[in-house]
């Protein structure tokens, strides 16, 4: 059965009926999910939510807008653009995915380095659940627990989104992207990390591995190295062969099948094509700010050959085209798929090598690194193989295991679905207890999309970690700009220990970190600010779990806030910044949400990191830095 509710009341009535009849309910947006969480099943009621597509006015002060969950992404951006606004959320599926789907699967867009993932953009939501209406995020009733973190990413397993409140940002005056050729992957991701930890907030950071760089034809050699006449003739002959193949489907099929049956050889050949890689990056916003950001970024990109604006502009113009290139592969009976994983910078090399090797045993594999943050980065693997189900299944199983073994999350923004349910449950470990508790409360008869995002009866037999020793700082990673700290220790004690290493807490809480995080309201932070990475918690029966620190994981809901309330949290992994800072009086006419200083008070803006001096020059006079403490709640 399919129902098309127009109002929240229609959803409530549908759920009441389904509950009474014991019918499974599958919420459905636009069906673009690649992991299968919105698949209907025999006898189920599919709630197609695309008619819940209301759109409220933009509030220019709070920079928010109310949006129905059925709104198609492209429509939302088109409508907002006419009034000078955007969400900044731009997934590849923007034309065939909905706001509700973004929330349900914890989507991330191509500009997430600047605007955050959808968790960061979604400030409040209303849902219908079998237990009744639920308001969360900024709409949480006083005294009630905010369940937004566990609802976002629940993939229809708890309830149905019927209304949302989203952040918006001004349409940028300019967007300036450039391409850079780096001699190696390592050199390129070092540059990415440097730009992010300098808090420059580029709108795009997109690095192609050597195979993707070559196959995509993304870098052309400098003119002095261009081929001689013989090479030109060879290229022309190759083009004639390509044209012939294109005109002959049978030949095309064989030419694809044969090499795909030998993926190891294919990957070795691809690996010999060269090590030079392409990074596309850039900034958007007010022209003067963008100029300033580029000036600050220049020394961080010095190891690369500047390819100019063309690669960036070409990528922007054709950023959705790659999906269309898959159609001919499917029609020839082969498979093509993608897998996105993520980890902190310090594990990136191991994650890339491990997953690439696992996939490469079965298919031609290439990757790009995008969705980068100060603490880490996602890797997006694309692969093409010969069309046998057993090969495809083995590939996924081995690749997911390799991602977990390397310390990455098994999904960054594609969600979970049946494809990754077991792997996501393993990643969550004993934290699934909090999921089960909330599931029992909101969906006591289990009608909501059973088995999504976790298997129906998730069991974790993994032994949990031991309690940390030492403290208040248990571990510090300068590379990842994060530290494992005691959540109950006085903030001053943590700061003192960090200061000795040249770091400070990225956010200075006004109370111990554990209490601050428990009380935190998402809208008190800016969308680009991540207050917590991993945590370790222990339940009263001694079971323990370590979550994270993979940045912005979408392997099911964010279970950390619920764990903070329901278990003894032994360790929190929090962001750091350089201890040195530059402060200036607030520049006139600028909104701190656009320039993004590390802190902004009425009398000063503070900047940290390698670009601090350059960015601070926008201010009018030097001031002694005084980083303020942050309250966990501010009025939305």
């Amino acid at each position: 059965m399919v129902a098309w509710p127009r109002h929240a009341e229609d959803v409530a009535a549908s759920l009441a009926w389904a509950k009474a009849e014991g019918v499974v309910v599958v919420p459905y947006g636009a069906g673009s999910g690649v992991c299968g969480s919105a698949m209907g099943r025999a006898g189920s009621l599919v709630l197609d939510l695309k008619r819940l597509d209301h759109l409220g006015p933009v509030d220019p002060v709070t920079r928010t807008v109310r949006v129905g969950p059925g709104m198609l992404g492209q429509h939302l951006e088109d409508r907002l653009a006419r009034l000078g606004w955007q969400t900044g959320h731009s997934p590849s599926s923007i034309g065939c995915s909905t706001v509700g789907g973004w929330a349900a699967a914890r989507s991330a867009g191509q500009f997430s380095s600047r605007y955050g993932v959808f968790d960061d953009i979604l400030l409040a939501a209303e849902l219908e659940t079998p237990a009744g209406r639920l308001r969360c995020g900024d709409w949480t009733a006083p005294g009630e627990e905010d369940l937004l973190p566990i609802l976002c990413g629940s993939e229809g397993g708890l309830g149905v989104f019927t209304d949302t409140l989203l952040r918006v940002a001004p349409t940028p005056a300019v967007r300036r992207l450039r391409g850079f050729a780096f001699p190696s992957l390592t050199a390129a991701w070092e540059a990415m990390r440097a730009m992010l930890q300098a808090e420059l907030w580029p709108v795009v950071l997109r690095l192609y591995d050597p195979v993707d760089t070559r196959i995509g034809g993304r870098i052309h050699p400098p003119k002095h190295r261009q081929e001689a006449e013989g090479a030109r003739r060879g290229r022309a002959a190759l083009q004639r062969i390509r044209d012939r193949v294109r005109r002959t489907p049978a030949l095309q099929r064989h030419l694809l099948d044969l090499p795909l049956a030998l993926p190891g050889l294919l990957n070795r050949i691809a690996g010999e094509l060269g090590q030079e890689v392409l990074l596309i990056t850039g900034f958007e916003g007010d022209e003067a700010l963008v100029d300033r950001q580029w000036r600050a970024a220049a020394p961080l990109l010095a190891a690369a050959r500047d390819l100019g604006t063309e690669p960036g502009e070409r990528w922007y113009q054709h950023r959705h085209d790659v999906s269309y290139k898959l159609a001919p592969i499917f029609s020839m009976g082969s498979f093509a798929d993608t897998m996105e994983v993520a980890c902190p910078w310090s594990k990136l090399g191991a994650l890339y090598a491990g997953v690439r090797e696992a996939i490469g045993r079965h298919a031609l594999v290439m990757a790009h690194f995008s969705h980068a943050y100060p603490e880490g980065c996602s890797i997006y693997f694309s692969f093409v193989g010969a069309g046998r189900t057993a090969v495809y299944d083995a590939l996924w199983s081995e690749a997911l295991a390799a991602a977990a073994a390397a310390g990455g999350t098994v999904t960054h923004h594609h969600g979970v679905g049946p494809l990754k349910a077991a792997a996501a449950a393993k990643e969550a470990g004993a934290a699934l207890r909090v999921w089960s508790e909330v599931k029992r409360a909101l969906d006591p008869t289990g009608i909501m999309n059973p088995g999504r995002p976790y298997p129906a009866e998730p069991v974790s037999d993994e032994p949990g970690p031991s309690p940390p020793v030492g403290g208040p700082v248990y571990a510090l990673s300068a590379e990842d700009r994060m530290a494992d700290v005691d959540p109950d220790a006085p903030v001053e004690a943590i700061e003192a220990a960090l200061s000795a290493a040249g770091f400070a807490l990225r956010f200075r809480p006004d109370r111990p970190l554990g209490a601050w995080l428990r009380a935190l309201r998402r809208s008190s932070l800016n969308p680009w600010e991540a207050p917590l990475f991993g945590l370790q918690a222990r339940f009263p029966d001694g079971a323990s779990v370590r979550l994270g620190p993979a940045p912005r994981s979408a392997a099911g809901p964010d279970l950390r806030p619920a764990l903070l309330r329901r278990a003894k949290v032994e360790l929190v992994q929090v962001p750091l910044r350089s201890a040195t800072a530059v402060a200036v009086t607030p520049p006139e006419g600028l909104d701190p949400r656009d320039l993004r200083p590390a802190w902004a008070t009425a009398d000063q803006w503070g900047f940290v990191g390698d670009a601090a001096e350059t960015l601070a020059a926008l201010g009018t006079a030097p001031a002694a830095p005084r980083c303020p403490t942050r309250a966990p709640r501010s009025e939305p």
Binding site: G31, G95, C96
Partner: protein, 284 residues
């Protein structure tokens, strides 16, 4: 029907064109996306579904062409669906030609209940004949090129020397395809200044100008004939999005569909028969 390859690329595509399809957006149905429509001929060609089911999918298209304009692969989706529908269905016999009523170099093609030829004659100061055509000059034959040829010849003979005045896009397409001399009624009747409504899609942001709130009426053939329930959903959604604001449409059939769902629409026929200040609200 074109070879299979013409349809399968679309069937495997990432479906980003759904956002520009007025039927997919207005109906919110998964079966009504351009790629789902294209899957009909494909699945029939590979033996999965019947010709009737395939025609059901192909006939959800109103031929607005937005998907073709959008497609990153350059697929001519609307023409392919039209050709497939022609191949999957037998041509319906056109309604017998009624005699042309009255005299005049202009012949008003009347597809609805109201005969506006007299009012047009009064407006222009010259006699206008009328011709009743409930099947919009036999627009269903447009998908059957072989059959349409004879139909076009018959039309030409029937209207020899006359200029047809048409009030909707369907009649206009047939007249042009048949090589008849044709004028659109909206080019002869002044419409109130304001936003013009035409097949399109999209919800309206609060505060956004109505001109941007375009939405498809769902009235065009073959959708309204083969899938009246989907056409009604599309029109209902469009009317809801207009939110009670009066709009103009150059197409009488579109306007009538929207009015059935409570929208306030002025079109050339309503403007002609019920001008503002003379008999109530225009288009009411």
């Amino acid at each position: 029907m074109k070879p299979l390859v013409e349809y399968e690329t679309c069937t495997f595509c990432p479906r980003l064109c759904r956002a520009v399809c007025p039927i997919a957006v207005g109906s919110a149905r998964e079966a009504a996306t351009p790629s789902s429509m294209m899957s009909g001929p494909y699945l029939h060609a590979v033996g999965t579904i019947s010709a009737e089911d395939a025609a059901d999918l192909a006939s959800l298209c109103t031929r607005c062409g937005a998907c073709t304009e959008f497609c990153h692969l350059g697929r001519p989706v609307a023409p392919l669906l039209a050709e497939a529908l022609g191949a999957l269905t037998a041509p319906a016999a056109p309604a017998p030609f009624a005699p042309v009523q009255g005299e005049g170099a202009l012949v008003a093609v009347i597809c609805g209940d109201e005969d506006w030829s007299g009012a047009l004659g009064a407006l222009l100061g010259e006699p206008v004949a009328s011709f009743r055509s409930p099947d919009h000059l036999g627009e269903a034959l447009l998908d059957h090129p072989a059959r349409f040829e004879a139909h076009a010849a018959a039309l030409k003979a029937h209207f020899s020397g006359a200029t047809l005045v048409v009030s909707d896009h369907g009649c206009s397409r047939v007249a042009e395809a048949a090589g008849l001399t044709v004028r659109a009624l909206h080019s002869l009747v002044p419409l109130p200044t304001g936003p013009v409504f035409h097949p399109c899609q999209g919800p309206r942001l609060e505060g956004e100008p109505v001109a941007e709130a375009l939405a498809c009426c769902g009235a065009a053939w073959p959708l309204s004939t083969r899938h009246p329930e989907v056409a009604a959903e599309v029109a209902e959604a469009a009317a809801a999005r207009l939110g009670g604001v009066q709009v103009c449409s150059p197409d009488h059939r579109c306007a009538a569909a929207l009015r059935r769902h409570g929208a306030s629409v002025v079109d050339p026929v309503s403007a002609l028969l019920r001008p503002a200040g003379r008999g109530g609200q225009p288009g009411a």
